[in-house]
């Protein structure tokens, strides 16, 4: 097998792995939110139990990136791809960590009486999931234009978070008895807001990979 075919195969395998990790993060978030909205602690526990596999996948991707850099010395678009994946894998793993934190909150909340409304959390979660899914699609197709659009849409999650924050503070004041549960929901909202930021990081890496442009902090 000639050298570049070998490299192509390794890059293809790396792409498959990072998309698998993305799928795991997406599923963890979806299931964590399901466990919260449907008060299903069993599903929340499954999310927590599965996290070790997500961590292992991240380590595998790290190793694979290091091997490719050390042994194949990729350049240009190949180098940008490997660097982007190496930086993206921990971001995806952290998204799965946030999903685990939501699952833990769900288990705690499911042991207490149900609150009437979960406010805008479902909308936030839905938006975060769409952003994540679209970001992974944009990465797969090296679509910098779509990645830029997704970055813009993060402001919607931020707006929803701000609204949720103020609404929960109001609830804590008007109904102090539910303050503990409100506080837990506030943390859930913050996790979702952070996931939006992480999706933005993924999109910035996609723009770098596709165009060699650094748009972070611009």
């Amino acid at each position: 097998m000639d050298t570049h075919r070998h490299l192509d195969d390794e890059l293809s395998s790396l792409r498959d792995r990072v998309l698998l990790l993305g799928g795991e993060a997406e599923q963890a978030l979806e299931r964590a939110m399901y466990s919260l909205s449907e008060r299903d602690s069993e599903v929340a526990q499954q999310v927590l139990d599965h996290d070790d596999q997500v961590d292992s996948l991240e380590v595998e991707i790290d190793r694979q990136c290091i091997d490719i850099i050390a042994l194949r010395q990729p350049a240009a678009r190949d180098l940008r791809f490997v660097i982007s994946v190496a930086k993206m894998a921990p971001v995806l793993e952290r998204i799965a960590d946030h999903a685990c934190n939501i699952a833990r909150a769900a288990i705690d909340l499911n042991n207490e009486p149900e609150l009437k409304s979960v406010l805008d959390l479902s909308r936030m979660a839905q938006h975060a999931l769409i952003m994540l899914r679209s970001a992974l699609d944009a990465f797969t197709s090296s679509d910098a234009a779509t990645a830029r659009e997704i970055i813009k849409s993060d402001s919607e999650i931020n707006d929803l978070y701000n609204h949720t924050f103020h609404r929960l503070i109001e609830l804590m004041v008007t109904e102090p008895a539910t303050a503990t549960r409100d506080a837990r929901l506030l943390f859930v909202a913050k996790h979702l807001e952070r996931i939006g930021d992480y999706v933005t990081d993924i999109c910035e890496l996609t723009v770098y990979m596709a165009e060699a442009a650094f748009i972070k902090h611009t």
Binding site: H4, A75, A76, L79, R80, A212
Partner: protein, 274 residues
């Protein structure tokens, strides 16, 4: 049409505080054609090489990079049936203009070849050779001083200072190549051309040559032809990619190796060429 960024700014990496300078053009080539008989080996090459940088030429075998290197000090003149069109300006003077003193040109533009080629003489005499035939030194002590300095500049002095009278052929391959560099440096050229200077050396000797190149660019303008793209990435400030006798792209080395402007360049450096 080669892609070249204008007015490159060179960051000087040295132990002194880092400074940024605007580099002056040392070598300017305009619309250069070169023929071996009826075969055109170079087509309309235009490139500027700033002063005191390392410029690397890369490209597949037969792309014309070594031929182009040799046009910069008219080494191709010795090959019968060759002909040149266009201009090669060094410090704004066309080296192909009638009346050019080619011996003086080659003193100003030194060359190191792929295979080290020490003379069957002592280490000292190898380095002193160019000084003697050019009669550039007066007293014996001045000659000794110039030889010592050249050997120091070539990072060889500490290894040979106690055996200057022994045969150069007793040195290792890497030492012989550094001796050839010392020989070229002894006559204090302004530009140093290196045609795959480390291709026959082991990794340790290669590393020494690369460190040497890095040090030498503080004083000299260096142009290196290499088949080893990682070497080009390691040692050069700017890289030019040649293909089929044409200059495809020239740019800052980090740009060429991370985000080249031309797809053919990218295909070559990612190993997907052809």
């Amino acid at each position: 049409m080669p892609v070249q960024t204008a007015a490159p700014r060179i960051e000087v990496r040295a132990s002194a505080p880092v400074e940024t300078i605007s580099a002056r053009t040392k070598v300017a080539v305009r619309n250069l054609d070169f023929f071996y008989g009826r075969v055109q080996a170079l087509h309309q090459i235009s490139i500027e090489i700033p002063e005191r940088i390392v410029m690397a030429f890369i490209g597949p075998s037969g792309c014309g990079k070594s031929t182009f290197l040799r046009t910069l000090n008219r080494m191709n003149d010795v090959i019968p049936g060759t002909r040149v069109g266009g201009e090669v300006l060094i410090d704004d003077h066309d080296i192909y203009a009638p009346g050019t003193d080619v011996v003086d040109l080659r003193r100003r533009v030194g060359m190191v070849f792929q295979k080290s080629n020490p003379f069957p003489k002592s280490i000292f005499d190898n380095v002193a050779y160019g000084l003697r035939i050019n009669r550039v030194t007066g007293s014996g002590s001045e000659l000794e001083g110039r030889v010592e300095q050249a050997l120091k500049d070539a990072a060889l002095w500490n290894e040979v200072k106690d055996r200057l009278k022994t045969s150069a052929l007793s040195l290792s391959g890497g030492q012989q190549q550094r001796l050839c560099i010392a020989r070229a440096l002894a006559i204090r050229p302004e530009v140093l051309l290196m045609d795959e200077p480390a291709s026959a050396l082991d990794p340790i000797a290669t590393s020494k040559i690369e460190e040497l190149i890095f040090d030498l660019k503080k004083q000299y303008t260096i142009v290196i032809v290499t088949h080893n793209m990682q070497q080009a990435a390691r040692v050069s400030d700017r890289t030019a990619f040649f293909l089929l006798g044409k200059l495809i792209e020239v740019n800052a080395t980090e740009k060429i190796f991370t985000a080249p402007n031309v797809k053919t360049t990218e295909d070559y450096i990612t190993g997907r060429f052809g």
